[in-house]
Amino acid sequence: MAFTLDTGATAWLLVSASLVLLMTPALAFFYGGMVRARTVLNMMLMSFAALGVGAIVWTLVGYSIAFGDDIAGLFGNPFQFLGLHGEDGQSLLAESGVPFLVAAGFQMTFAIITVALISGAIADRVRFGTWIAFSAIWIVLCYAPMAHMVWGGGLLSADGPFAAIAEPIDFAGGTVVHINAGTAGLVLALIVGKRLGWRKDPMKPHSLPLVMLGAALLWFGWFGFNAGSAGTADSTAGLAWVNTTVATAAAMLGWMITEKIRDKNVTSLGAASGVVAGLVAITPAAGSVSPIGSIVLGAIAGIVCALAVGLKYRLGFDDSLDVVGVHLVGGLVGTVLIGFLATDSGLLYGGGVRQLLVQIVIAVAAVIFSAVVTTIIALLLKALMGWRVSEEDELTGIDVTHHAETGWDLMGGFGSRRAAGSPQSTGASTGSAGSAPYGETMSAHAAAQDPPTDSSSPEDDRESRPAQPATTGEPR
């Protein structure tokens, strides 16, 4: 295809890709704020790891599987764009005048955020290595084929069999991203099992400002996600932009009202969750409903998701940060409501039930595909690597036990620390139960002193403390 660059469309897609990339760290903050202080780093690292692994895997084979030449309607030729080797005319966005790599980069960010979303279902309790392996495999076997089926000309696309009824609509990823991640989250929550103390301990968010920061950056990034999915900077992008904003606003208000009625209080966690629920629900619909339709769709999503997040307590699965209640349910709401609200073909606009039917079909297909593939991957990894950290590590907190760090230290420099590797401190950390006799200087400790720090350093060395009359004889 002859390719003519459109700098405006390209500028918008470069921006959109950047915005969607930002969504993964945003998710890290959204999720990180929601867990307890002792696991914030692990939670955030799960998103960052998804970024690292996702970018590499997508470059190597992911993009090819999603957008290579169709094989059986299920996936694309995995070797076609190996290493993102391709020509400017070859991407779906070529017609908009967007270069190949810009399109490939934009799509990359979707793969990354989708796998990162799943991590919320299994907060605080999984081995980091297993998560990394899962991320890589899941993108290849679950995300990329689903993207192919919906956007790459596969079974669930306009080229697939259901298009005979009506052309399936998934503007920016209701099925590929949200139903997919939500289903995978449910599967993992079931396979990994519950956190210790679940339902007894409120496990309340340790930093709601961080949660709200995450929600805000997600909203911001979602403009790239939805309006960027128009593929260029035109009226459709404008429609998607406005719909994204008003649906989200309506969902936030819907969630707030639900809380007000049910719990008597409007919470910030609810507001933040309502924001995400609205963003999720409008994702598939952003290009095919009106602003008023979006308000309706958003409000419904906010209310339904606010109710849905309580389900896990009733059904007994620990979907820790509500990936199911928000992404699976929100994705279903959005995908199905298109059947009613699409201005072209929706039931309420006189389009009959055909669109609705197709929307239900693709939603169900997505759930089934994702559930099956995720189950296989998760069970395999359970057998090979194991999912859970030890109970003691989970109780103590995974940050310190698995990452050797603590998220917050506002006391700043409080406490006695020394370089490890010294006999005494090693002794201490394995726990010598024998009682040290009083009055006797512990010789091991003396040996553990740091070598005098650079006393021979030529430059003006200011490490010594202000003069002090103490007689401990131990220069700090």
Binding site: K200, D201, L395, V400, T401, A404, E405, T406, F414, G415, S416, R417, R418, A419, A420, G421, S425, T426, G427, A428, S429, T430, G431, S432, A433
Partner: protein, 112 residues
């Protein structure tokens, strides 16, 4: 009256509080503290340099009690907080000369 001070593992606090409440002790004061002891700290790594962080988060419970309840209360705390691992904590008891309830000005056992 006596003051019972107990250092326990933070994740045992909730059980201890429940056990005490069941026993009938309604009031206590809890502080987050850092404990040093036989239980070694953990290692944290910054920029490839390891540091052993000696202090370990603990919960410190204070309960003012009538003399006659002390033995049982201490027993209850010790039993509930025990996991058998190093670092489970300490309980100590000191004498209290007087207690006042701020709200009413009541003194002594009535004030608890």
């Amino acid at each position: 009256m006596k003051l019972v001070t107990a250092i326990v593992q933070p994740h045992a606090l909730s059980d201890v509080a429940d056990a005490l409440r069941e026993y009938g002790i309604a009031g206590m004061t809890v502080t987050q503290v850092a404990g040093y002891g036989r239980q070694g700290g953990h290692t944290e790594v910054y920029r490839g340099a390891e540091y052993s962080i000696d202090q370990i988060p603990k919960s410190r419970i204070e309960i003012v009690l009538p003399d006659e309840s002390v033995a049982e209360a201490v027993d209850l705390i010790v039993r509930t907080a025990r996991s058998g691992r190093i670092g489970d904590g300490k309980v100590w008891v000191t004498d209290v000369v007087d207690v006042v309830r701020v709200r009413t000005g009541e003194r002594g056992a009535d004030a608890i």
